[in-house]
Amino acid sequence: MIEFQGVGYGYGGRRLFSGLSMSLAPGSFHFLTGPSGAGKTTLLKLCYAELRAPEGRVTLWGQDARAMDRDAVAMARRRIGVVHQETQFLDHLPVAENILLPLTVAGRLAEGHGNLRELLAWVGLASQAGQLPPELSGGERQRAALARAVITSPEVILADEPTGNLDWEMSQRLLTLLVELNRMGKAVLIATHDLNLIRAAKQQVGARILRLRDGRLQAAGADL
């Protein structure tokens, strides 16, 4: 679905990584770890074409991301659910409408109403559906972001430090949600440096762990 071949990226003359290759296949579960500033968020942005790789090739469902026009990028993003580190909502709309937004923009809103109640219960926000995003706590916002990311039943879920604002119990709960989605066949890529989360996940799912360090992507294993 998403493939990187020899991808390199840098900002302002500083090279973040180069020669990076990886593939997100259906049903795969990846953790992406590494020190702060290693380029984890950049790598995720390359996955949903917010950034374009100047070196190498990123393909989204067989299309070269660099050659995709803006409509094609929009269509690809409808197949990807993203949970951002800093959750971004439309603050003037209630939580329920924010969660339904990906279906609204795709013209598939009718599909969502049946699932919404179930999804809100699943992420534990049934009683907060009518609240505005600024009225939610950090954890509630993370869960609302997850609900919005999965409402369209996307093929790929990308999460950037999804437990950054959560306590351990809430992190566990969010992990369980992602593992459940993975069992439904979704590819999951979580960028995190929460090693406890990774260890907990390994007990539940056959996750592959990638470490971004010194500009290279390495497979990590027993040392975690």
Binding site: D71, Q88, L101, T104, V105, A106, R148, T152
Partner: protein, 323 residues
């Protein structure tokens, strides 16, 4: 009814195509006007830009009514001056050259034989007195003064009148007679009226340009104020046109309503101007006549079209700058 001036006719011809275009695009236009309430909700109301657009469109609509009225009034004026002077000529017979009555008879005979002359009539002493009254006062003894005899000539409108040929014949048969076909009066007047009409058209173009500029600026301000909204919508897979449509529809409708209010106010103001019968003069003729009253109705749709084009262009340009 006089034909429309060429630029106005061209503008009207272009606008006349709009209904046919609207008919073809009716489903899309109706869909656009109806809007998508969900998409509209995604973009929050954009504060001061709404008032700015309404006010700008209103003010420009008001001014456009006056520019249009000026353009039409000068057109009427140019046509009137042109027609009145173009279809008449004056023959002046010198006062001290022999028997004026015989000369007048000869002149009238020549004129009656001249192709393109519909009527020739010697002015009576009373008419001469009336012409001289503003300079010499009332009760002038015109008969005792060496006043030239004037012959008013009315021309046919078939273009067969040959002023040079008539002048040559008069020189041969009535030396000293002077034919004035009013060309030297008519041309500067028609030229002046034409320039005023051009100014009216330029004023309308400037108004359209200013409206487009102001609405573009307002749209850009609204887009900048909603940068976070746009970013979120793009990230969840919204196409540019989906996001742009919400802005474009809002600004188009605001411009249409603002311009409609401004046009209505402008029409009321024009209706309240004193009429030429009560005050006389050129400026009091500033207004609409007959079909002219329908022309201002084109201002709101034109403002909406201007807003649609400028906002769509600004929105898509801004969106393309986003990742």
């Amino acid at each position: 009814m006089r034909p429309l001036p060429a630029p106005l006719a061209a503008a009207l011809a272009a606008l006349a195509g709009v209904p046919a275009l609207l008919a073809r695009q009716a489903p899309r236009v109706l869909g656009f006007l109806r809007g998508d309430p969900l998409a509209d909700r995604a973009v929050p109301p954009s504060g001061f830009t709404a008032s700015l657009t309404l006010f700008t469109a209103g003010a420009m609509g008001f001014l456009a009514v006056f520019a249009l009225a000026l353009s039409l009034a000068t057109d009427r004026l140019a046509a009137r001056w042109g027609e009145e002077l173009a279809q008449t000529a004056t023959l002046r017979l010198p006062a001290l050259d022999g028997d004026q009555a015989t000369q007048t008879g000869t002149a009238l005979r020549i004129l009656q034989q001249t192709p393109g002359v519909a009527e020739a009539r010697a002015l009576t002493p009373d008419e001469n007195r009336a012409l001289l009254e503003p300079w010499l006062g009332p009760d002038i003894p015109v008969e005792s003064l060496p006043v030239p005899q004037l012959v008013a000539v009315t021309l046919t409108d078939d273009g067969t009148f040959d002023a040079a040929g008539l002048t040559a014949r008069l020189e041969a048969e009535l030396p000293g007679a002077v034919l004035d076909d009013h060309t030297r009066w008519r041309e500067p007047l028609v030229q002046a009226a034409g320039r005023l009409r051009t100014m009216g058209m330029v004023a309308m173009l400037l108004i359209a340009g200013s409206t487009a500029t102001m609405i573009t600026l307002a749209a850009q301000a609204a887009l900048a104020a909603n940068a976070q909204v746009i970013r979120v919508l793009r990230l969840i897979g919204a196409r540019d046109i989906y996001i742009a449509r919400a802005f474009v529809r809002r600004f188009t409708l605001r411009a249409a309503w603002g311009a409609a209010a401004g046009t209505l106010a402008g029409l009321l103001a024009v209706m309240l101007l004193p009429t030429s019968e009560t005050a006389g003069g050129f400026l009091t003729g500033l207004g609409f006549q007959g079909w002219g009253w329908l022309l201002p109705l084109l201002i709101p749709p034109f403002a909406a079209l201007t807003a649609y084009v400028s906002t769509r262009s600004a929105a898509l340009r801004t969106l393309r700058a986003q990742p």
